[in-house]
């Protein structure tokens, strides 16, 4: 499942590498896909947004640990699950 992670671009120059490093330290976490939502955008409120694909099951321990590791990281501003939008 995809989660959205925002990394403070003032704290790290390479948000993708930073998130990979954080998740790499989580026991049991498998290979993840990390992608910048707006590649190379370093200024503005939408800079540092990443789409992170965690291959593990959303209810699994590995998933919980991965999300917790990201939330505990000082360079990570927030971690959000998908917020679907629907027509009103």
């Amino acid at each position: 499942m995809d989660i959205i992670v925002k990394v403070d671009t003032k704290r790290t120059k390479d948000p993708v590498a930073h998130v990979r490093r954080v998740l790499g330290a989580v026991p049991g976490s498998r290979a993840v896909t990390v992608e910048e939502v707006f590649p190379d955008l370093r200024t503005g409120a939408s800079a540092g947004l990443l789409s992170v694909h965690l291959p593990c099951d959303p209810g699994s321990k590995a998933h919980r640990l991965s999300v917790r590791a990201l939330r505990d990281d000082e360079a990570v501003v927030y971690v959000e699950g998908p917020k679907r939008r629907r027509p009103l």
Partner: protein, 447 residues
């Protein structure tokens, strides 16, 4: 009373000449049975002083002096003497006879004989010249020919939209009054982005308004299979007086972005975010007839969008009777949150309420465009739908009209104009959080 000196008189008043004044004087020369006829005088005068002297007439000589002194550029008989009318006699006959080598034309005389057209020279006041000519003994009258206007009106090249009478919302938001006001700008230079379920690019009432269409969803076709985006876009910018269906609130161009999938599995937050940010530098207004839970990433992106000068308008939501949840992005403070009203200016029963509501607009039985192809609903081409999704595009289009009239306004200024001019409607009570500032009033917003 003595005739004033022509030279002084004409020069003195020449400064009063107006650019649009006719530069021609028509004079009728008197018939004199003993001397040369008026037309002969005119012909002589037209040849200059020498010609007039040859004719040996003072009047001809005076006319010729007007020509020679530059007060007139030319003096010509009104009726071509080489093609005399049947029965011409008197001056015209003489003139024609001269032109035709002495052969007098046949036929009757007319009252129009002796008419000459004097083209007034630069720096000479035509009125003064006419007065001067009228004072000459040999001139029956002289005047500035009045301009004749065409009373017929050009046939209109536009045709009324046959379903426009069913668009009650336009009356409610005073759109007709706004359009009739002096200086109305239809916002054709404004782009409104619609991030939604797509758009039917082949809809005849919409296709002229579509500036760009992008499908940001991978794994889903370009068609609007829900019809929602097509309906929203039609409310904003369906062709006005194109003889088809309905008309939009404005003539803005539509930047349509398909980000709401038909199949839930195709939802992509990343694609949605990219669609939101895509409008920066490409649109002036962003309509979001969508909603859901609070999303900090969406807030961050919309913050950038608004900082870039885009007015963001969002629907309040339709779940008032299902717990009245707070919907985002409408609840974002810098977004214009729009609720729905019905034909009686009452809040629609489904329209969410809340502190963050800015304004309300019609959202019940709103007739607009629907896909011409097969989609989720049965009604093709046009249909009337309910929803705050239908209210928001009225406000988005009004924002486009405001931006067209007041270019350079910030999003906050546009929203302030829309809310401060809104009508306090009958249903609104003190402390009521269902109406915001009131119901949209385009006429007042553009005043």
């Amino acid at each position: 009373m003595a005739t004033p000196s022509p030279r002084f008189h004409l020069w003195e008043t020449s400064r009063k000449t107006k650019d649009r004044q006719t530069r021609t004087v028509i004079a009728k020369l008197k018939r004199d049975p003993r001397g040369p006829t008026g037309a002969a005088l005119a012909a002589g005068a037209a040849r200059g002083a020498r010609g007039a002297r040859i004719l040996g007439d003072d009047a001809g000589s005076r006319l010729a002096r007007i020509l020679e002194n530059g007060y007139a550029v030319s003096i010509e008989p009104v009726f071509d003497p080489s093609a005399p009318m049947r029965g011409a006699r008197g001056p015209l006959r003489d003139l024609a006879a001269g032109a035709a080598g002495g052969r007098a034309p046949l036929g009757r005389a007319t009252r129009s004989e002796g008419l000459v057209e004097i083209r007034v020279g630069p720096g000479t006041d035509p009125k003064t010249l006419a007065r001067h000519l009228a004072g000459m003994g040999d001139v029956e009258y002289a005047f500035l020919p009045p301009v004749r206007h065409l009373f017929g009106t050009r046939t209109k090249t536009t045709r009324p939209d046959p379903l426009s009478s069913r668009q009650w919302a336009h009356g409610a938001i005073r759109l007709g009054h706004a359009r009739a006001a002096r200086g109305f700008n239809d916002a054709s230079g404004i782009t409104v982005a619609v991030v939604d379920s797509g758009i039917d690019t082949g809809h005849p009432d919409l296709k002229a308004a579509i500036k760009e269409y992008r499908n940001v969803l991978a794994g889903e076709g370009d068609r609007d299979d829900i019809g929602h985006g097509t309906h929203v876009a039609g409310i904003i910018a369906a062709g006005f007086r194109n003889g088809l269906g309905i008309s939009g609130v404005c003539a803005a161009r539509i930047l349509a972005l398909k980000a709401l999938p038909h199949d839930d599995d195709h939802w992509s937050a990343k694609a949605y975010y990219r669609a939101l940010r895509y409008v920066i530098g490409r649109a002036h207004v962003l309509n979001l007839s969508l909603g859901g839970d609070k999303d900090p990433a969406e807030i961050d992106i919309l913050r950038d969008v608004i900082d870039s000068g885009v007015v963001v308008v969002a629907a309040m939501g339709n779940e008032y009777e299902d717990g009245n949840p707070v919907e985002y992005p409408a609840a974002m403070p810098t977004v214009c949150a729009v609720g729905a009203t019905d034909q009686l200016d009452h809040r629609a029963s489904f329209s969410n309420t809340g502190r963050h509501i800015d304004v309300v607009a019609p959202g019940v039985q709103i007739l607009s465009t629907t896909p011409t192809h097969k989609y989720d609903e049965p009604e093709r081409n046009y249909a009337a739908w309910d929803g705050t999704s239908m209210a928001a595009p009225h406000v988005a289009a009004a924002a486009a009209l405001v931006l067209a009239k007041y270019p350079g306004s910030t999003p906050a200024q546009v929203i302030a104009r829309l809310t401060s001019s809104a009508d306090r409607v009958a249903g609104k009570k003190k402390g009521d959080r269902g109406y915001g500032a009131g119901r949209l009033n385009c006429q007042a917003a553009l005043a």
